[in-house]
């Protein structure tokens, strides 16, 4: 029921009629009785019609009174209507990317990347873009909770300190179980904690662990580090089950690095990806092989052997006989890959996400053999981003069970949900006298602890980060804490008996520890202010002591060969995948991420069991059939999804779903696959043997795209490497179609956009950025099923070929801003027209909802508001919540029901830039305007600019040989152009 502000008079009349009192303030039509309410129904209706009509027209409807409430004291910093930008650090995952966040009227509303960051250069990811919404999440705790009761901080601190200090002679451990802490100042605080509690231990926990990688590097090079991988220094990149462009380790940085080497000329990097399930990275590789998780080890060994034969004099004696048989399925491919690697020694990089030490050791040997250490694999200034130690976590559970832990603080981790032994962990929690969770909500783990001491959201928090050694960034709050939460660092300091506020502590740390090492930084005050403003600081740190490769790779090879590949008796393997929307599940209550269509499956609101087409056909399974996956340790029912490119006998399932205490949006969405794999030899597995059975039931999926074929149309065009140089001239001159329309008056600009299909990885950061910038509503799974998803920007996925050799294309598609727009000619009220500057403009207040424009649009980019998403309880997402509404962009109209909307090239940003140019007394320059999608993209695939200016970047790009328009034959003349995707099957 929608309540619009009503005319006061009309409301009075309606109430009067409803209650039956006679209307006396107006004359009654003749023929009706003037007293009592014995009039016939017909009389009542005519009475209503006449009186309401007379009232409405006679006195005129009044509008509600609006107020303006200025701050009691004026601020020069906060001018209503003028956004402030502050640099901070993202906390959506441990990659800790630098951000610049836009703040309006004291609240952050849009997250953007920090161009000054040498790592990310301004890119962001989908989860990072969406994390501004989690600040305004209704599911967040409003304050501390002790044994289920809300209490004050004083009270909970009293309880906690009493229990902590009571055990001063107690040998039992005080444990902090946390996600990877990349903050050097927070790590220093842990030292304070250790001083206060000598039995303190810090256990780092990552749901998708890289513990084997660290262990392998310890064995090989003497330091248990995650290397800082340099994809930008590699001519040949081989990824073995590592989704480095999507979710692995530092995807924003890696995407930027990777795209730097993917030039259109002969020096282009060659990318091979070997994986079991189709991932974002695999869909962008030049060569993709489908291999099962159990085949990963033998594959790595075979690759090592093949490379050794080419680069080493003796072919590495220990490898004799360890390669794959010549007729093995991937032997030819391995030879090809080894050729490429050997040809580019020193410029090659092999990465694997495997959590098996032997496999990681083999890959480390491979990188050493190829001369990558120190070049593409930087061990001396390593990454500090995933430091989880699986063995310690397994140990911890045992210790908790034995009663050897007297206090457990859980910070940024949710093991009850995402640990394979979640049930065991829950039971073990009961044996710990004092359990505290610093999570922002009463999550799965928080339901079993004594004390909930909610930490701030990262946008409310001070802090710092060192994602890669020597690369520092600062975090500053963009809003005063919304609720009675307290910084985790402050909580620890209070309990350690040294209460200090976080900012002071942070500043002191930087002054004492970091500033002295900042060369040429000058006095601390200036250094501090500059660092806060800029957000990122490079301060070289002493190199980690590593030695040349000295690991027992022969032992590793023997180990892998002995284990063999897939056991012949097992039919299937289950592989866990981290997807760009769900990540590890911590953002499950974020509706923007739930509704984000997965770039590979194009599904929303849930996960599926991805099965290869051949396997599905053999089993008689079609997409939507509910299947049961049973492993040694768990069982899960999920809808099946036929996924081209999926390895034949592997079933991939996305993690991060199936939560039950995330909040209203995330609870019960999808299935939790974490309990189906287990910890072996102290390491978390990401795969397990599985049996598959049909339940006979069907489930309804919520796909954003149901058709994946281009049907012979040149929607995504590709070009072979080097072809652009040889392309004949005449091919580019299209026959000019006759023009039926009179030329329009053109203004000073012609806004257009270029999208580089080669640089686009499909990461979908642009989709979420557009949703955040333009107040695009979330519609929920039911509406998505009716094809009513509201995203202005979508990333279409097209498939070429089938089976395991399928090629995947990602294409960002939004309003093409056609100069001869089919939508404009059919609007009966001219609610959509082309502006003098080339933008196809949608005027919301004029639209009457005919929807003919959406019908006529060949690109199907128009979105209709079927509901009033701001006032309809069927859509309990951010727009119906007073807190959630705080994220809305005040510069963009919030559309009502019955109105069409679509991409408008961020015209609010264009207008703002024009205004700023005006204020600064200068003409607009190329680069003044960055649309939301352009700004979010980590690879710089989207370029926006003025096509009327021949010197602008976009003009030059669209004048190049790679440029084309989608569905050009229709004569729509779009201002949005695409650059052909480059295919390169060989490395030069």
């Amino acid at each position: 029921m929608n309540r619009r502000p009503a005319c006061e008079e009309a409301e009075t009349a309606a109430t009067a009629i409803a209650t039956g009192s006679p209307l006396v303030q107006i004359g009654l039509p003749t023929g009706t009785r003037s007293t009592g309410f014995e009039a016939s129904r017909r009389d009542v209706l005519s009475l209503m019609g006449f009186s309401l009509g007379a009232l409405g027209l006679g006195s005129g409807c009044r509008a509600p009174v609006q107020h303006a409430v200025p701050l009691p004291a004026a601020s020069t910093e906060m001018v209503p209507g003028v956004p402030n930008l502050y640099a901070t650090t993202c906390g959506a995952c441990s990659a800790s990317c630098g951000l610049v966040v836009k703040q309006r009227d004291g609240r952050p509303i849009k997250i953007e990347g920090n161009d000054a960051s040498p790592l990310t250069r301004g890119g962001t990811c989908a989860a990072g873009q969406a994390s501004v919404l989690s600040l305004y999440d209704d599911a967040r705790l409003r304050g501390p909770v002790w044994l289920g009761n809300p209490v004050s901080w004083e009270e909970i601190d009293r309880h906690i300190k009493t229990m902590l200090n009571a055990g001063s002679g107690d040998p039992r451990a005080v444990v902090l179980l946390s996600q990877t802490i990349t903050s050097p100042s927070a790590l220093a605080v842990l030292n304070d904690f250790r001083v206060a509690f000598p039995s303190f231990r810090h256990v780092v926990y990552d749901p998708m662990s890289l513990a084997a990688l660290r262990e392998a590097n310890r064995l090989a090079h003497g330091a248990a580090v995650v290397p800082h991988f340099r994809f930008d220094r590699a001519r040949v990149v081989v990824g073995l089950e590592a989704d480095f462009l999507g979710t692995w380790l530092a995807p924003v940085e890696f995407a930027r690095q990777w795209s730097r080497r993917r030039t259109a000329d002969g020096e282009r990097a060659f990318h091979v990806q070997c994986e079991s399930g189709m991932s974002v990275t695999g869909s962008n590789a030049d060569l993709r092989l489908a291999i099962a998780p159990s085949e990963l080890g033998p594959f790595a060994v075979a690759l090592l052997a093949a490379v050794a034969r080419r680069v080493s004099d003796d072919g590495l004696a220990g490898l004799r006989g360890a390669g794959l048989a010549p007729d093995a399925p991937h032997a030819a491919a391995i030879d090809r890959i080894a050729d490429a690697l050997a040809r580019h020694r020193g410029e090659a990089l092999v990465v694997t996400g495997s959590n098996d030490v032997a496999t990681q050791l083999v890959v480390a040997k491979l990188n050493a053999l190829l001369g990558g250490v120190g070049k593409t694999v930087d061990l001396e200034q390593p990454s500090l981003q995933r430091q989880g130690d699986d063995a310690q976590v397994a140990d911890l559970i045992q210790q908790m069970n034995r009663g050897a832990v007297r206090a457990l603080i859980v910070w940024g981790a949710n093991p009850v949900y995402d640990h394979p032994d979640g049930v065991a962990f829950t039971a073990a929690l009961k044996k710990v006298p004092l359990t505290i969770s610093l999570a922002d909500r009463r999550d799965e783990t928080g339901a079993h602890v004594r004390a909930l001491c909610p930490d701030h959201h990262f946008l409310e928090s001070w802090g710092d980060a060192e994602p890669v050694r020597g690369q520092f960034s600062l975090r500053q709050p963009l809003i005063a804490p919304l609720h009675d939460t307290r910084s985790g660092v402050e909580s620890l300091l209070v309990w350690a008996g040294r209460p200090t506020d976080h900012r002071t502590r942070l500043r002191d740390f930087w002054q004492r520890e970091l500033h002295p090492r900042a060369l040429g930084a000058g006095p601390f005050e200036g250094f501090w202010e500059r660092s806060l403003e800029r957000g990122v600081v490079e301060m070289p740190q002493p190199a980690v002591a590593v030695h040349a490769f000295a690991g027992d790779w022969q032992g590793a090879v023997r180990d892998i060969v002995t284990r063999g590949g897939r056991p012949p008796t097992e039919a299937y393997e289950l592989a866990l995948q981290e997807t760009v929307g769900a990540r590890d599940g911590r953002h499950a209550n974020n509706p923007w991420l739930q509704e984000l269509p997965d770039p590979i499956t194009r599904l929303t609101w849930g996960n599926v069991a991805c099965i290869a087409p051949a396997t599905a056909a053999a089993q008689g399974i079609t997409t939507g059939d509910v299947v049961t996956l049973t492993t040694e340790v768990g069982k899960l029912e999920l809808p099946a999804f036929v996924q081209p490119g999926q390895e034949r006998r592997t079933i991939s399932v996305a993690i991060g779903y199936g939560r039950w205490a995330a909040g209203k949006a995330g609870d019960g969405v999808g299935g939790n696959v974490f309990p189906l794999v287990r910890v072996e030899n102290g390491l978390r597995r990401a795969s397990a043997p599985v049996t598959l059975s049909k339940t006979g039931r069907r489930a309804r999926l919520a796909p954003a795209q149901t058709h994946f074929s281009m049907e012979g149309r040149d929607i995504v065009q590709t070009m072979a490497l080097g072809q652009d140089k040889h392309e004949a001239e005449h091919e580019h001159e299209h026959e000019a179609l006759p023009n039926l329309w009179r030329e329009r008056l053109h203004g000073a600009h012609a806004w257009g956009m270029s999208i580089d299909l080669d640089a686009c990885t499909g990461c979908s950061a642009c989709v979420v950025a557009c949703q955040a910038e333009n107040n695009v509503p979330v519609v929920g799974a039911e509406q998505v099923r009716k094809s009513r998803i509201m995203h202005w920007m979508r990333i279409d996925r097209y498939l070429e070929g089938d089976g395991e050799d399928v090629i995947s294309h990602h294409q960002p598609m939004m309003c093409q801003h056609c100069q001869h727009a089919p939508c404009e000619t059919v609007c009966p009220v001219l609610a959509t027209t082309t502006s003098s500057e080339g933008i196809n403009q949608q005027v919301y207040n004029r639209c009457i909802g005919t929807r003919y424009c959406a019908n006529n649009c060949p690109y199907k980019v128009r979105r209709f508001n079927w509901h009033n998403f701001t006032a309809n309880d069927d859509f309990p997402f951010n727009m119906t919540s007073p807190l959630g509404r705080l994220v809305l962009n005040p510069d963009v109209t919030v559309r009502s029901r019955g109105v069409m909307e679509k991409c408008n090239l961020c015209v609010q940003r264009i207008q703002l830039a024009k205004n700023q140019a005006l204020l600064q007394r200068r003409p607009m320059a190329d680069g003044d305007v960055a649309t939301a999608c352009q700004q979010a993209c980590p690879t710089g695939a989207i370029v926006f600019g003025d096509l009327a200016d021949a010197q602008s970047r976009v003009s030059k790009l669209l004048a190049g040989r790679r440029a084309y328009r989608v569905l050009e034959d229709l004569g729509t003349r779009p201002n949005v152009g695409y650059l052909k995707k480059i295919t390169s099957k060989e490395t030069t």
């Binding site: 009174v65 009691p72 000073a748 919301y844 005006l918 003409p923």
Partner: protein, 191 residues
């Protein structure tokens, strides 16, 4: 007789229809709206007699889309020193002492689907009185202009082609181009 009835009938219908149309098109137009304010602030004394520039108090108009109503601290810049005391000034001082923000009744309201940016107009040299009327003669602020789209377009069509004096210095290349630039496009104000 019959003819007379018919003629009068048509005339009445015409008049009624005209009134209906006028009423219907004036829905949402609040020209003449002059609400009572929590503090009866007289622009006549401040902007008129004392000639305080508009932008002194409504400084937002220079840089922001909102002109804004000044914070009480701006009032206290002068009234902290001036001895004159009236009931209204008393109300102001009480609000300041209690730290209570003053809830003004906004007079000029545009619908949510309209984007109006004050700074663009101010920097282009449009006088405040052009749209807000002779504020310096107003005791109680009254909406002087209809603020309808047609009324805005009237100025945009006639004057916006010609660069104003300030802008002319800014963008020579724009002046040299005989093209419309200042917001006849729908997306100049509706997005």
């Amino acid at each position: 007789m019959k003819v007379r009835v018919i003629v009068i009938g048509f005339a009445a219908l015409g008049a009624g229809g005209g009134l209906l149309a006028r009423g219907a098109t004036r829905i949402g137009v609040h020209q003449g709206y002059a609400p009572e304010q929590p503090i009866a602030f007289p622009h006549k004394i401040h902007a008129g007699d004392n000639q305080i520039p508009c932008l002194y108090c409504h400084s937002g108009a220079r840089t922001s889309r909102h002109a804004g109503i000044p914070s009480a601290s701006v009032c206290m810049n002068c009234h902290g020193l001036i001895e004159k005391q009236t009931t209204e000034i008393q109300r102001l001082k009480e609000a300041v002492q209690q730290g209570r923000p003053i809830v003004w009744n906004k007079v000029h309201n545009l619908p949510d689907f309209v984007y109006f940016n004050h700074s663009q107009h101010v920097i282009s040299g449009v006088a405040c009185q052009r749209c807000h009327g002779a504020v310096e003669h107003m005791d109680r602020i009254e909406q002087a202009a209809p603020l309808t789209m047609g009324w805005c377009l009237g100025c945009h069509r006639s004057e916006a082609h010609v660069p104003t004096s300030t802008f002319a210095r800014v963008a020579k290349n724009v002046r040299d181009r005989p093209t419309p630039f200042a917001g006849e496009d729908c997306t100049s104000c509706h997005y």
